[in-house]
């Protein structure tokens, strides 16, 4: 076996993949357009400094970006292959839409980040950005949109809500600076729940079950009530966080959208500033989003913003059981390589396509259900479903016969 010429971590999308890709993209676009969003696409290359400022990409993520000096980069300032879509959309918003009170944008594009071995280095995303003062309805809108996409695709989704503000408030109250907060948060995300015991020990006013409750996934707003009781009244800044989550949970319950609440969930702790949600299908994460008010600013003024992205690479394999659009193809075969047969074949193919029939000109082997027409200057021979061939004289006659057989 020879080595592939494909670069590690890069994927070819074959016709079957592209069918699923388009199905997903089309469904996503229809939902976004239906909610009043406009489609954008940002450039593949951006300035690196958009992503390096604090509060944007984490240092771990920055280590994986594809950055380089462009052909005019003699100043030494680097550019980068788009490693994230939210930050470029925030840039686009600042430059094009900053005067609008609320901007609703969506995109379908890839992000490029280094991964070891042959793990994917180019990930396609369907993403949405909602910029402007839309809270609390904006968070609910995004959750409903993401859920609607999955529902229209026929995928049963599990929804989880969180807010990094819960742990951020607790860690601050426990006297941890921002670096220690990050380190502790990473430990918790990696499954080391004993890290929460340290926090509880530093918060004598908290109830004994605080750490246990934080490690739980609650089913509705009642869980948040229990958490509030255990945290106690002394943690500054936590009440608005819990109130906001409770409000979202209440509306989702009213709309019969099942969800769970998990305080320890969010990977991008630095990035998100408000409620966050993740979607799972068969236990696999397929998308998520939340609020990141620090990312979008116009001049010195920050702008509230939130968004979500669906992971197309995770979703596409889940669509494999759906019916393929590749069926129902008619083949027109020139009887010989002479000019007259070719002329007849391409004339018939043009008329069939004009009549809405999908046509391939060639010599494909027939499978059950396939329709084939053999074309020559003497006329057309229709072969359908293994039945006896039918001879037809004109193009119109043949088009009508094929249209009838396919209906």
């Amino acid at each position: 076996m020879t080595d592939s010429l494909r670069c590690p971590g890069m994927r070819d999308l074959l016709p079957g993949d592209m069918e699923r890709f388009r199905r997903l993209e089309d469904t996503f676009r229809q939902v976004c357009l239906g909610w009043g969003y406009g489609e954008v696409r940002t450039p593949t290359i951006e300035h690196l400094h958009l992503f390096t400022a604090a509060g944007t990409l984490s240092p771990q993520m920055l280590e994986r970006v594809y950055s380089f000096l462009d052909w005019d980069g003699w100043s030494g300032e680097r550019v980068v292959l788009r490693p994230d879509s939210t930050i470029p959309v925030a840039r686009l918003y600042r430059e094009q839409f900053a005067s609008a009170p609320v901007t609703r944008l969506f995109y379908v594009q890839s992000v490029l980040r280094f991964a070891e071995g042959d793990a994917s280095r180019e990930d396609w995303q369907c993403g949405v950005e909602l910029i402007g003062d839309t809270q609390p309805s904006g968070d609910i809108e995004l959750i409903l949109m993401a859920s609607e996409v999955l529902s229209r695709l026929g995928l049963p989704a599990e929804l989880k809500l969180s807010d990094p503000g819960i742990l951020r408030s607790l860690f601050s109250a426990a006297g941890l600076d921002s670096e220690k907060q990050l380190a502790l948060y990473d430990r918790v995300l990696d499954g080391d729940l004993s890290a929460l015991d340290d926090v509880q020990a530093a918060l004598p006013g908290a109830g004994a079950s605080l750490a246990a409750l934080l490690a739980l996934e609650g089913e509705n707003a009642a869980y948040l009530g229990n958490l509030r009781t255990e945290i106690g009244p002394s943690i500054s800044g936590i009440d608005p966080v819990l109130d906001e989550l409770a409000s979202i949970s209440d509306v989702l319950s009213h709309l019969e959208l099942a969800h769970r609440i998990a305080p320890v969930l969010v990977r991008d702790f630095e990035y998100y500033t408000g409620p966050v949600f993740y979607l799972y299908v068969d236990g696999q994460k397929v998308g998520g989003g939340g609020r990141y008010d620090a990312l979008v600013s116009v001049g010195d003024r920050g702008s509230p913003a939130s968004g979500f992205a669906l992971d197309m690479d995770a979703l596409m394999p889940l669509l494999s059981g759906l019916p393929s659009a590749a069926t129902g193809l008619t083949t027109v075969r020139p009887k010989a390589d002479d000019t007259a047969s070719l002329r007849a074949a391409f004339e018939l193919a043009r008329s069939l396509r004009a009549a809405g029939v999908r046509v391939e000109v060639g010599d494909k082997t027939l499978a059950p259900g396939d329709v084939q027409v053999v074309a020559s200057d003497a006329g057309f021979e229709l072969r359908n479903n293994g039945a006896e061939p039918t001879s037809l004289e004109t193009v119109d006659e043949t088009v009508r016969a094929i249209a009838k057989s396919s209906s």
Binding site: H49, T52, A53, A54, P59, L62, E63, L69, W71, D72, G73, W74, S75, G76, E77, R78, E116, E179
Partner: protein, 474 residues
Amino acid sequence: MIKIALPAGDLRPPIGRLLSSCGLRVEGYAEGSRSYRLAVEGREDVAARVFREKDIPIQVALGNYDLGVCSLAWVKEIQARFKQRAIVPLRDLELGALSLVAMGATSACDRLDKLGSLPVVRIASDYPNLADAFAKSARLARYRVQGVWGAAEAYPPEDADVAIVAVSNPDALSERGLAPLFELLHSSVWLIGNVASLGRRDLSSVLNLFNAANGNGAQPAEVSFPTRADTLGASVPLSTGERDMLRLAIPDGHQQRHVQGALEAAGLLFDGYNGSTPARRPRTDVDGLEVKVIRPHDMPQLVAAGEVDVAITGRDCLMEHLYSFPSSPAAEVLDLQRGQYNLAAVVGESLPANTIGEVMDLWRHEGRDVLRIASEFPATADHYARSRHFWRYQVISIAGASEGFVPEDADLLIEGTETGKTLVENKLKVIDLLYRSTTCVIANKNASLQRRKRIVYDELLTRLRRVSEVPESV
């Protein structure tokens, strides 16, 4: 055969002594032999090859050499960009102690907590990957890394805010107007190994010699980086107003002799611009002129960025810059007609082909999959490979000692040759000529010099133009 890569330069005598004390007597190494491939006395199973120190971790990481000896700082520089564990530091040889330090000018950015207040932080370093990691760790909102071929300490404050340099005594730099901001690494010379070689080849007959001679079992130091909090607090007063001095950069290294001759012939005497270690800022009595000595490779970028108004460098360096940045405003304004040499494509003497066409035919016939091109001018080599329609190729960017690369470590060199004598000595031959390079004056074609700077510039060019019309005396 166990292959070991050894550094050229000042480290030869102490490393040579250490190797001898281990029982590895590398013939001619400590004495500075001109040969790049050296035998090891009584050890037919060991071969040594001399490289520029910076190239050693790359050669060991590529697996071309099983073992290498170099400063830990160069290992960390590679690992800052390429995280994969292709190299492992094996033994601290307790030689060549250096500190890798971020320095700022005492007159400008003399404390780390001033960095956060700069709108753009300019960092000059021979260690661009570590400089990039430094900036990212500090979460600098905007920064530029100028990867240089040396003399980074000469950049602050005019051409950089921070220089990341390897120094044996950081305090000595305070005499040159620099203040240490942050120590990234305390480095020394290490024995390093290729991970794959250690996994499948028996290197113990060499490793044992080092273990017996050197009892230091220390772990390699980790690189430290500042956090965002470290860079916040104080502020740097931003300079306002236009400088009215013309800034001229002149080269050190092999071009110094030619440039010194041209300047003297033009009646321009720069006090301190002589000898093997010229002053970085030679004094001049030309009113309105500021002179700095830096590496010729780094000049076009400084001219393009507007940090330097005029520079005297080789056409090879300008072409390399223009192949990297085709729309750069750095341009040649005067050919000094000195320091002439040819940039050529070079292969091993024994290859039965004499032109690039014949060589390509031969390699195609042999079914060679990948062509390896080594050069100190990687963008030029890349351009050459594309223009000659090479099939799959690798450009190996090297810091020097290039003649030793062919045929074992590269198939082709893009190399400067003055008389051809060195090529013959190293069993090499020219198969194609890229261009003739001479020393030239370069400037920014988009710059519009005004008032005193214009007057000084015109005077400088007039004098140098006169010199260019007279052949260089050899």
